[in-house]
């Protein structure tokens, strides 16, 4: 979330789409209700099903799963055509005025942007760039093209850089400026087109577009709208671009950075925000540092690729905060390798694994299926049930040498070798060794979770682990120390990073998590002084914040964005001061929020160019002339002493300092503007460009389990998977209370479809995709209606995912013991690599 849970109460207008917060985030949803009750805010819900969120909405629209970009593109078109945009915000805080490279082409007819190479199914993105300008923003001579730098043979050419001085037109009239191309791009997303793709009747669509953009009616700049989403947007092959469309809409309306505004991802689980921040993922290191790739060659080469330089009009300033990347990277390596990371050895750069291909979730299973991943650690991660394509994942595990599962309940993954339908004979052929280690429950562990609003909160141990179980951190430490001991004794391949990793915990075999948090926060190795405040630190002291980080090796920090969470002032994530003097739900002294305890990101954008709030009744930060700095109810997400006259852009992490309506160069692999493409299993051809129905860069896997169904084969019902408020993923199927609330799996079937099938509620149905089948009882409901998709009557059904083959109902023989992910395909979003769990094709029969 750019904003926070409580902040939702400050809004005037809410678009909940691709999320079902009433069911999946009920306690956060209270702030939606508070906005409705206290501000008469309106709630628009767009979902394939009439959900419990829809039940309290002011307007509900039923959309076809996977059609979100068409809908949001239609909103953008409506806002522009009806002049419901925030003009000043757009000109000054976004790149709308930037003029683009004249080689850039929109996907109007053929469905692809400029630079597409059909053979490699990828884009040469060098034309996705700004044109160079002079000091006044006029185009300079020839279009801006930088020669590709020399690069090793066999590797893709590195992308050119952004121009230091882009050309721009603050009147937004230049035909090749971002705004005009945006308008042109979405001019095709008419209400009629939206209706054909999404199935939403155009009058309903226009009603929603009118309501949402009404906050900018007649030039109003005071009101604010928020966009709230979750994995209903993410879990598609168009996931990242859908989210981007939402963000662009919010920039267009000037809602980002403002109280009650923003683009708000409701992360699904308790600490996946923290896991993302801490980079428990292949492509990042802690604090969103991109991992080194082989071609970087050295620490310097890596930093050169990662560290951007400003790209902005001469008269404007850009903080370009990623310009500090080397400080973050050196400090991380110093935290990991201590004295073994020196300037002489390139800060132990050699110890980091180098990555030049995809190792994400679906690749793990594919690589295991193909015999390349031989051992898997699954700690609280039930990959068989989580899917996609349960059968493929089971088949993959059968080919692994070993599997180590850390869990608190018996799960599908640890028992893959006795999945339903596996005979004793087959079991005997499975050569995988499986260890199942009993871990600790949440109440038995301390440490921090980072919530969706980026708040780190310390939790306390309430009771000991049951005897026989061990703390997760102790298990990992003990395995690592044992491996290290083996390398010490026996030697082996490249032992240095293992032997030299810092592990200086008081009890190395059971690290105290408070010590680890201190390590993450970081410390200084030398005495230091802040040049402005004159605050002094002694060598060995905890760092107060990331502004203290250095690239000379004198600081260590495990994750720069968490720097400040455990300073000399103590463990700030433990703070419990709920006071909120502004009444705006900031709660500055409760826990600690990254970055630098800021609660609303980009909050400089809550003020006009003079540094005064757009709405004086919802003041977050503002420029104080007497103090000559930014002050306010929140910590300014900005260079505190940069006066408004310097015109520094509020989006300080972008080299432009501006919000990106157009995402240049390497930001996304499939287009700088989002374009609607059909899900990989599509009920119709893409009405925008039938010859390019799918996202052209989506990867297809090739194992025999990787099959895709089509309407021609009889798969013509759109199916979506989702969660229920009564259950939590594959966990509460072990909790008798939750099982009592919803005892069995079911499939939601539209009443009209059930009538046609002669199906009554409670009877069993068999749902089949080309990959597998799922049998459960039918819930026949009026809450999903048949839709007209491009003139074709289309049904959607829904399957809650919470069951598998181990659980109270499963063990009680109350279910058919099939995870819903038997049905889902292994296809992924090309930017975030999230699988398409939603919007695939099935057929439905009575079972």
């Amino acid at each position: 979330m750019t904003n926070g849970w409580v902040d939702i109460k400050n809004t005037d207008m809410m678009l909940v789409m691709g999320g079902n917060p009433a069911e999946n985030h009920p306690c956060g949803f209270k702030w939606v209700i508070e906005a409705k009750k206290n501000r008469n805010a309106k709630l628009i819900v767009v979902d394939p099903r009439f959900t419990r969120t829809a039940a309290v909405s002011d307007l509900f629209l039923q959309i076809r799963s996977g059609a979100d970009i068409a809908f949001l593109g239609g909103f953008i078109r409506y806002a522009i055509e009806n002049n419901r945009i925030a003009k000043d915000y757009l000109v000054n805080y976004t790149n709308a005025a930037y003029i683009l490279h004249d080689g850039f082409k929109l996907p109007e007819d053929d469905g692809v942007f400029s630079g597409f190479d059909a053979k490699t199914q990828s884009y040469d993105r060098s034309t996705w760039n700004y044109a160079g300008g002079d000091a006044s923003g006029k185009l300079v001579g020839a279009p801006h093209v930088l020669a590709a730098a020399a690069h090793p043979p066999g590797t893709p050419a590195p992308l050119p850089a952004l121009p230091e001085k882009p050309a721009y037109d603050l009147t937004l009239q230049h035909p090749n400026c971002v705004f005009q191309l945006l308008r042109k791009h979405y001019s095709r997303y008419t209400p009629e087109m939206v209706e054909r793709i999404t199935g939403i009747p155009k009058d309903q669509f226009v009603k929603a577009a009118d309501l949402f953009t009404s906050i900018r009616k007649d030039g109003d700049t005071k009101k604010v709208a928020t966009v709230i989403y979750a994995v209903g947007w993410t879990q598609h092959t168009s996931g990242t671009q859908t989210i981007r469309t939402g963000a662009m809409l919010q920039l267009l309306l000037g809602n980002v950075g403002r109280a009650g505004g923003g683009v708000n991802a409701l992360r699904g689980h308790s600490n996946i925000q923290g896991a993302t921040d801490m980079a428990g993922i292949f492509d990042n290191l802690p604090g969103y540092l991109k991992v080194p790739n082989p071609a970087d060659g050295s620490f310097e080469g890596w930093m050169k690729r990662l560290t951007p330089t400003p790209s902005k009009p001469t008269q404007w300033a850009s903080f370009n905060y990623w310009g500090n990347t080397p400080k973050f990277a050196v400090s991380l390596l110093r935290a990991m390798y201590g004295d073994a990371a020196t300037k002489q050895n390139d800060w132990a750069y050699d110890f980091l694994p180098k990555v030049d291909r995809n190792y994400s979730w679906t690749y793990i299973w594919d690589d295991m299926y193909n015999g390349n991943v031989k051992g898997l650690f699954a700690f609280g991660m039930n990959g068989v049930a989580i899917g996609p394509d349960t059968k493929k994942n089971i088949d993959a595990l059968k080919k692994a040498d070993w599997l180590v599962v850390g869990e608190i309940y018996p799960d599908e993954t640890s028992e893959f070798w006795k999945a339903p339908g596996t005979s004793t004979e087959e079991m005997k052929k499975i050569q995988t060794t499986v260890y199942r280690l009993p871990c600790a429950g949440f109440a038995e562990k301390d440490g921090t979770f980072t919530n969706s609003a980026r708040w780190l909160q310390w939790k306390n141990v309430a009771l000991p682990t049951p005897s026989g179980c061990r703390l997760d951190q102790a298990i990992v430490a003990q395995i690592f120390l044992k491996v290290r001991e083996l390398y010490q004794k026996e030697g082996g391949k490249f032992p240095d990073p293992i032997l030299k990793l810092t592990w200086a915990y008081t009890d190395p075999s059971n690290p105290s998590l408070a010590e680890v948090l201190k390590e993450i926060n970081g410390k200084t190795f030398a005495d230091a002084e802040d040049p402005v405040t004159k605050q002094q630190l002694k060598a060995g002291q905890q760092l107060p914040g990331f502004a203290w980080l250095k690239d000379d090796g004198s600081t260590a920090c495990g994750n720069w964005i968490y720097c400040g969470s455990h300073s000399e002032a103590g463990n700030l994530t433990m703070r419990r001061d709920a006071s909120d003097p502004s009444g705006m739900g900031v709660h500055q002294n409760w826990g600690w929020s990254w970055p630098a305890n800021r609660r609303v990101l980009y909050n400089r954008a809550s003020c006009n160019t003079d540094g005064k709030p757009w709405d004086a009744t919802r003041r977050q930060v503002w420029w104080s002339e007497p103090a000559q700095k930014w002050v306010g109810n929140d910590v300014p997400d900005f260079k505190a002493d940069s006066p408004p006259k310097d015109h520094m852009g509020p989006f300080i992490m972008n080299p432009e300092g501006l919000g990106r309506i157009f995402a240049p160069l390497g930001a996304f692999v499939d287009g700088p503007f989002p374009e609607f493409y059909e899900p990989v299993e599509n009920p119709i051809e893409n009405p925008l460009h039938p010859k390019q129905t799918h996202n052209p860069v989506v990867k297809r896997f090739k194992t025999p389990d990787d099959k895709l169904g089509t309407p021609k084969d009889g798969y013509n019902v759109v199916c979506t998977t989702y969660r229920l408020t009564e259950h939590y993923h594959y966990w509460t199927k072990n909790n008798p209370m939750n099982v009592q609330l919803i005892p069995e799996p079911f499939v939601e079937i539209p009443a009209e479809m059930a009538n046609e099938m002669g199906l009554r509620g409670g009877e069993k149905v068999r749902v089949s995709s080309i990959r597998g089948e799922y049998v459960a009882k039918a819930m026949v409901t009026k809450r999903i209606k048949p839709m007209m998709i491009d003139g074709k009557k289309t049904y959607q059904i829904g399957i809650p995912i919470h069951w598998g083959y181990r659980g109270i109902a499963e063990d009680g023989e109350k279910t058919s013991k099939m995870p819903a992910n038997m049905l889902t395909p292994t296809v992924i979003d090309p930017n975030a690599f999230t699988p398409e769990f939603k919007g695939f094709l099935v057929k439905v029969e009575k079972a």
Partner: protein
């Protein structure tokens, strides 16, 4: 171990008036349930079962999100789900928390023949005292909301206590505390009526629910649980909420005329006794006298 108590203002099956009645003032407590902000999450159901340490009972899928068809002796609080298609074709998914209404004039208490098995505290809460319950089930017939449920094994009847153990210690009921959206609210009856009226005004003026209203049925003297409904003219849409509930006629007949007769017999007996004494003077006691005073309940 200390044991909390609450003062009683009405007692089932009890002779005469309630001891201590009207000697101490106390505010009536009340739950406000705003069905227009209920998301049917069932946190209140769980909070109730957890707080009251009730056992888990098996349920089966029944083509609905609703946990079970009706409340049970050990499941006092149930969200009722109803899909309702409006005239314009749009859909409403109505959710209502169903539980004891804590009537000001409780039909259960009226109907109950067992002395002290059902009491109403001075804060308005109607509570069952299972140790005095005789399992006759009259309270079930007496309730216009179908709330009390019989445990057929122990032959005792159970229902929501409004968490008297919590309320008597100054806490809110468990369901109220859990409610994520704040569609449940707890306070004095006057305050809850005020809040409800404000919400109704907002629903009428800003959300287009022109028939929004408060459900606080006068037929049972008002209730300790009141609802805000999108359409107060059609409470039956919300899982059969009765539009004009009252104590069943049979219970009234059963209790009131008989009680009257009983009282008449007491007073008549006293007068007869006095007249008898004046006329005949003292006399050795006999069975006849006892019969003469037999109108005592």
């Amino acid at each position: 171990m200390s044991q909390a108590t609450l003062r009683v203002q009405k007692i089932s099956g009890h002779a005469g008036t309630v001891p201590g009645e009207d000697t101490q003032r106390q505010e009536l407590v009340c739950k406000l349930i705003d069905t227009t902000t209920c998301i049917g999450c069932k946190a209140c159901e769980v909070a109730c079962v957890e707080w009251n340490d009730m056992p888990f009972s098996p349920t089966t899928f029944d083509n609905t999100y609703q946990t079970m068809p009706d409340t049970r002796w050990n499941y006092w609080n149930l969200i009722l789900f109803n899909e309702h298609e409006r005239e314009d074709g749009s859909l409403q998914w109505l959710m209502r928390k169903h539980q004891c209404m804590h009537c000001a004039e409780p039909g259960c208490l009226e109907a109950c023949p067992a002395d002290g098995a059902i009491v109403q505290y001075t804060n308005g809460v109607v509570d069952f005292q299972q140790d005095k319950c005789i399992g006759c089930g009259y309270c079930i017939a007496g309730c216009p909301f179908n709330v009390p449920k019989l445990n057929t094994v122990t032959k005792r009847v159970y229902k929501c206590t409004l968490c008297t153990d919590r309320v008597s210690e100054g806490l809110e009921p468990a369901c109220i505390k859990s409610c994520p959206t704040g569609c449940l609210h707890f306070g004095t009856k006057d305050d809850m009526r005020d809040l409800a009226a404000q919400r109704v005004k907002q629903l009428r003026e800003h959300s287009g629910f022109t028939n929004a209203g408060v459900y606080d049925p006068p037929g049972v003297g008002g209730t300790g649980v009141i609802y805000v409904l999108h359409d107060a003219t059609r409470p039956e849409l919300y899982g059969g909420l009765p539009s004009d509930p009252s104590i069943p006629l049979m219970v009234k007949l059963w209790k009131h005329p008989l009680k009257w007769l009983g009282n008449l017999a007491v007073v008549g007996g006293a007068i007869a006794l006095f007249v008898h004494f004046l006329r005949y003077g003292p006399k050795a006691r006999d069975e006849e006298d006892i019969r003469a005073a037999g109108g005592l309940p």
